[in-house]
Amino acid sequence: MTLTLEIIGITVLWFFLFGYVIVASIDFGSGFFNAYSLLTNRQHILTKIIQRYLSPVWEVTNVFLVFFFVGIIGFFPKTAFYYGTTLLVPASIAIILLAIRGSYYAFETYGSRGHKGYSFMYGVAGLLIPASLSVVLTISEGGFIDMIDGQPVLDYQELFLSPLTWSIVVLAISATLYISAVFLTWYANKAKDGEATKLLRKYALIWSLPTMITATGIIVELRAHNPEHYANILDVWWAFLISGLLFIGTVYLLWTKRSYGFAFLLLVGQFFVAFFAYGWSHRPYLLYPYLTIYDSFTNEAMAIALIIAFIAGLGLLLPSLYLLLRLFLFNKEYVVGKKEDNHA
């Protein structure tokens, strides 16, 4: 296996998608917990913690996603034809949810602090986004797109009746809440907010189970749905084993109320290993059985230009991201709430 431009391209994109999965999960999960606590009159426990984290970073989250889809069209322009044509409805739903979530978040945060309607709107929209986006992963497994007169057409009935679809939807939602809850447990603990830590730890433990069960279930379902992919997954069984062990590590630390920071680190490791093992086994297909990273790849000149632009861009971004994290996430005084950093 040589390091071709195709592999470099898809790896870069996969990294950003992973980044999106983690950051967006924290984001969407927080929004949901916030809305839930408003609804059950427990906002005094959670809202402050959640908003301290969310406020300065919300816009950055969205860019990870934009980066991924712009990048995939750039590196693999044929995806525009297959996915562009078939995803009109599911992707439009996701866009609408993203739009409501993003703008109502801003409306609530900067316009009318504590507005219940707005909080509820973005909390629920946020939770539905992972569900609607996850459909793309389902479709990529093949079996839902027919070629009619040379045009790809999505078979909605097949898609809606497939257990695979719904397992992936459930995984997307529960993983979102799980990732978010583990992160916030650590964050609340860092902010020395005992009550919030306690509640979030409970949420984390609750959502750990469905996450693991559906993840395992999906692999089993793939055996019937896409035997080729299933066989490739078995080839990297050890990676999924490592991921499972990391999961157990996280839950153990949460259970015994120890080192929440390390627990979150293990969680990131768990998802990282599983995400890349999944991607690796999916290779070379972008869409079973029509599209591979090789036959959809752009020309060499564009690929090299994109990679150079990417490296230059990272040179700019990494220091800025570091600054952002240092000022807010890793700033003790900010996290604890000593700094009165009200927006504008």
């Binding site: 322009p77 562009g84 564009m302």
Partner: protein, 449 residues
């Protein structure tokens, strides 16, 4: 749904998304610079009014940015969803600036977050001001990169077509296409002009509605000055755009100016209506089209007769041209008058009449932006990629575009109303006077400690 319907609804949806997005995008590109200016003037003159101005504008700006971001995400995805064949082809040549735009935007997003939450962290205001530089640069570069993509659609280059395949692709050459300089300059300068006039309009409106605070007067004067600079710049760039069109897209210029027959010493037709192919009630300025096109009153200007009928843009773009140019000229005159009047201390400058005109200038500038985009986009028809791919060939084969049109129309309605309601509430509940009193009280409390 047949292809014709899919094309129609795809165009409708794209038009709708872009028309809605461009309002927020224009403000998003222009306002950071205005905030910077206000904060700079405030530090320089040690005048807390300007500092507060920057702060209040920044607050409103976040709301518009949020809507700009989400609708920008929408159009980014819709390009592939509605025009998959176009993206498959053009992606091979023009993906680079699209990709770079996400970086520019990333950069802006990070520093905007930092800027908003660090008002009280720095002892030295100048350091806080510095954080705005990457925000303004990022916003400006986003506009530059995206406009480059649009320029490429008008004047594609950087590749060869051999048997329907793209070869010899050069991404940099594609970015440096002939439409790029005038288009980029026009977009950036109109964004700055419009943002300045929108902010001036808000200040003027407060003055008309009872507040007589010097804060608003300062805001109006500063913004009209900035608006004057950029509206003059826009007019000059507009002249260059005419020359670009004459050279590279003569059919667009000819359709916009109703120049049917190729001729020298061509007159410029302003206003008028088209009745059965006859131009009626128009103002004709002799030689003006030849000057606009070639800087030479006797030069030959190519007319629509040089193009096959199915490659001519719709003639109604002339009306968009009229609207755009009229508003542009009006804004140059209004702002020039106001600045001179203020400088000479004429009382008339503060009259309600002039203030009302300044109020009108905000929405008018936004209308000019819309008219300009409609002119250039409809003026490219029937092409999506001029000379290479038509809009019909590019559209999706999906049958659900009509439902999506309705869904997105509702979304934009919700976002539009939501943003207006939130902005109004934000500033209503917290008027300048109240905030200045609070600042004063805080300062006194600080001194007595």
């Amino acid at each position: 749904m047949g292809n014709e319907e899919a094309v129609f609804f795809s165009r409708l949806l794209t038009e709708m998304t872009l028309s809605f997005h461009i309002i927020y995008a224009t403000i998003g590109v222009g306002v950071p610079l205005m905030i910077m200016l206000a904060q700079y003037v405030g530090i320089k003159k040690n005048d807390e009014h300007y500092i507060l101005m920057a702060r209040r504008w920044a607050r409103g700006f976040v709301i518009t940015v949020a809507v700009g971001v989400v609708t920008g995400t929408a159009i980014g995805l819709q390009l592939s969803l509605l025009w998959p064949n176009f993206m498959e082809l053009a992606g091979q040549v023009i993906a680079l600036p699209l990709f770079m735009e996400t970086f520019a935007f990333f950069f802006e997003a990070i520093f905007l977050g930092i800027y908003l939450y660090t008002w009280d962290r720095f002892e030295n205001q100048k350091k806080h001001l510095l954080l705005l530089v990457p925000v303004a640069v990022g916003a400006g570069m986003s506009a530059v990169f995206i406009t480059i993509v649009n320029a490429f659609m008008n004047a594609p280059q950087g590749f060869d077509m051999v048997n329907g395949e793209l070869v010899n692709i050069n991404p940099l050459l594609a970015m440096l296409n002939p439409a790029m300089p005038t288009k980029v300059a026009h977009v950036v300068s109109t964004a700055l002009m419009t943002s300045a006039f929108v902010l001036a309009a808000i200040g003027a409106f407060r003055l008309l509605k009872g507040s007589n605070h010097i804060y608003h007067k300062k805001a109006v004067y500063l913004m009209v000055k900035v608006g004057l600079v950029f509206s003059v710049a826009t007019a000059i760039i507009g002249d260059f755009s005419g020359k670009y069109l004459a050279e590279y897209q003569p059919e667009k210029l000819a359709a916009a100016e109703w120049h049917f027959e190729t001729s020298d010493s061509a007159p410029l037709i302003l206003y008028g209506v088209l009745d059965d192919g006859e131009v009626k009630y128009a103002i004709e300025i002799p030689y003006a089209l030849s000057i606009l096109a070639h800087n030479d009153p006797t030069a030959e200007v190519i007319g629509l007769d040089q193009f096959p009928e199915d490659e001519r843009p719709p003639l109604y773009i002339h009306y968009f041209f009229d609207v755009m140019v009229t508003i542009g000229m009006f804004m140059v005159m209004l702002s020039a008058f106001y600045v001179v009047a203020k400088w000479r201390k004429w009382k008339f400058a503060n009259s309600r009449f002039i203030l009302w005109l300044i109020v009108a200038g905000g929405p008018l500038s936004l209308i000019a932006i819309q008219a300009g985009w409609w002119m250039t986009e409809v003026g490219r028809q029937p092409w999506i990629l001029r000379g290479i791919m038509t809009v019909d060939e590019a559209a999706t084969s999906s049958g659900s575009v009509d439902i999506m049109v309705i869904a997105f129309a509702l979304l934009y309605l919700i976002l539009g109303i939501g943003s207006v309601v939130v902005l109004r509430r934000m500033f209503r509940n917290n008027p300048v006077e109240k905030e200045l009193d609070k600042m004063e009280a805080e300062r006194l409390a600080g001194e007595s400690k």
